[in-house]
Symmetry: C2
Subunit: 230 residues, 2 copies
């Protein structure tokens, strides 16, 4: 079986020396990749420079990306040539457009003017006590996956922070339906530590609970291989 | 001799899942630390989780920090107990205060209201196409060093991007005088790669040019030890 797995977190440049980064160690994605490789599957891993990588393996190909635009361009052809996508990467929701001093924005008659500006300095400098950064939504990659390849089996992830179990499951079910995923792995940052990773594997008609990264990887392996053998 | 060295780049949290990070591998700081350790000096290295670290050494102590506030609290006592500070860390100039949808800011009568707000969600969510992040200047640590310890010997760094040699030297000289440093190591991001690191060591009455990280480390070692033996 040929799996496409994403891991780590994207970074969006503000300028040449600063970026907004989505935190993600890449540990879970690496563990999932290793589990499938151990079963004889082929894995293409799309990840970031700083993410934890799986051990080298003859059936493992790694592609490094930095930002959402890279990810989009890298994933579109890969989604078409893989049977399964496990999309555990933390993808930036917004990317910087323009940064300026607070004085400039208070002096403006029409704030929309800043949405079309770009910084031309390599390192944005300012003497202002306050600065303002304008950001724009990034393309939602997960919602395009089934358009690129209607037959791909999609496992998505949803990370929230400090919400109730009820809210977490509601948001995960909405993502499951909207993105036509088989499973959304829903987790809360406050329930993740080095040794523990509490998650709900939300399917159309059931929810399975896991408490470690190893257990999440094992459950995904079983799900993908069982359904595949039907 | 007891040296305090800083390396890597600080990160400022936007929320629990996103940060603004100043890029710096920490390689130069690690190399400088190793050069002094090899000469029998004691080194305290203040650095970040992701920075390249020197090889372990009995005379090396490492302290990990994340943001400017951590750095301030960690450095203040250390500056008082060390004879030399080599401050190569890339320190964030601004830190996030508040993030909101663009619609909210266009609807506001007084934009200063956002400078006193804080986000109370662990993960800031927004359905807006555009978002706006307000940032505030961080305390300038290098300008406080001589107040904490008037006798410490200070080596500062200045990184600019895509400027002329003239501008780079002018900015470095201003920093040298303002911060009462012995040397400002001035460099341009476009002249730094893995194998090459073009820098000017700007002193009160001279400028020395270096082309590799090893050469910068060697020049700093010679400067500190020579003056020390006078």
């Amino acid at each position: 079986m040929k799996l496409l797995i994403t891991s780590g977190g994207t970074s969006e440049k503000i300028d040449q020396v600063r970026s907004i980064t989505n935190h993600s160690t890449g540990k879970l994605g690496a563990l999932i990749a290793e589990s499938f490789l151990a079963q004889g599957d082929q894995v293409t891993l799309v990840t970031t420079q700083s993410a934890v990588k799986p051990a080298a393996h003859p059936n493992l190909t790694i592609q490094i990306i930095e930002n959402v635009q890279d990810l989009l361009e890298t994933m579109q052809p890969l989604v078409k040539t893989h049977g399964v996508l496990i999309h555990s990467m933390a993808v930036s929701d917004y990317m910087p457009i323009y940064m300026t001093g607070f004085e400039q924005i208070t002096a403006s008659q029409d704030l929309t003017e800043f949405l079309n500006k770009t910084n031309d300095q390599g390192k944005i400098s300012s003497k202002d006590e306050y600065q303002v950064l304008f950001l724009k939504q990034t393309p939602k990659i997960i919602s395009q996956v089934k358009k690129w390849n209607p037959n791909i089996r999609l496992i998505g992830f949803k990370l929230l922070v400090g919400v109730s179990k009820e809210e977490l499951l509601t948001v995960a079910r909405a993502s499951l339906i909207k993105n036509k995923a088989e499973i959304i792995v829903a987790n809360d940052l406050y329930d993740i530590s080095n040794n523990q990773h509490h998650a709900f594997l939300v399917k159309q008609d059931s929810v399975i609970e896991a408490t470690t990264k190893e257990e999440i990887a094992q459950l995904l392996l079983t799900h993908i291989h069982t359904k595949d053998n039907l």
